[in-house]
Subunit: 198 residues, 2 copies
């Protein structure tokens, strides 16, 4: 087997969800692409990896010191939505329903994986709230054990701000989900948080 | 959204089977990788795209003028297995059952996609056989209509060599299946049960 091909397939299959077969298929596709298109792709990957920064204010990915959301004067600066990772910001942004700011923790507290509260951007969140502009903190962390631990840790840290509203995104049955396949914990939450139909 | 991130996700999602969500997940993963590992990956992709060659003898991907299989003195030079594409060579090699040479056509005859016999490396195959060393040609093209058309076209071209044995891999492979996605065992059986075309 060609060493160039082997190296390319080997490197591609280091990516998550890409096995050797998929990597091989991608390599064959690269040959069909224009050389310039492949150069644009590798250049975009390199630039992203080497030039991307973290927003000084919210820890979101950013091209500059402040991210495009934090520097947008149209955003509601009294609400902050706390998420685990960068992709969560995009998931919420795609709904076009939220106009506040974000705060990216960079993970969840996990003693198993050796992730302590100090490894997350929780101090930065507390500092931002201490400045007094924020009225509501929406906690949008995942429902895993680690997520719940993180949620309670942050809630404790935020007790020092008496006027601050702290909410959590609703747990329930997703649209299109069939009850048959939904886990017990979610159904329990969905039942407890039932709402009267107006 | 960060322009660097948007560019990276945009470029990655141009790859087949990679949607925007997967591209986003890959981008997040790139940030967790060491900068040097990402550089190794982009470099392997670039080198593969720019330096890879076609074997002068069999049209397989190669680092040099002759591919590692054609230049291997251990291979049986009296048998040649004709496949559609580069990944098919690897699928067959993975079975460790075949010790002959290969011939990569580079596609199949497809009037719908405007692929004529002259667009494939069929002349090169005929030239190789005319040299007289090859005793058997195994046709391992897919069972699609285009594959069958290609098979019959090649068979007609090979009628000029009276002593040549022309076989086709056994119909152990389901209709519509592409060699690239078939498991090793099925490919092994299909190779063993190849039958002479009357």
């Amino acid at each position: 087997m060609s060493k160039l091909l082997k190296d390319c397939v080997g490197e591609l299959s280091k990516l998550p969800g890409i096995g050797r077969r998929t990597a091989m298929r991608l390599a064959v596709h690269l040959l069909r692409m224009e050389s310039e298109s492949v150069a644009e792709m590798t250049s975009a990957i390199s630039r992203f990896r080497n030039e991307i920064r973290r927003c000084r204010h919210c820890n979101n990915l950013s091209d500059d010191e402040l991210c495009s959301i934090c520097s947008d004067p149209e955003r509601d600066r009294t609400t902050v939505c706390v998420v685990e990772q960068v992709s969560d910001v995009l998931s919420i942004e795609n709904t076009h329903q939220y106009r506040g700011l974000y705060h990216v923790l960079g993970g969840v507290i996990s003693p198993m994986q050796g992730i302590a509260p100090s490894d997350l951007k929780i101090d930065l969140l507390v500092d931002n709230i201490a400045r007094g502009e924020i009225r509501e903190v929406i906690l949008a962390v995942s429902t895993s054990v680690e997520g719940e631990t993180t949620l309670f840790y942050i809630m404790n840290r935020l007790r020092q701000f008496p006027g601050l509203k702290v909410t959590s995104i609703a747990r329930g049955i997703g649209f299109g989900d069939e009850l048959e396949y939904v886990d017990e914990l979610t159904i329990t939450h969905a039942l407890r948080n039932r709402r009267e139909i107006e």
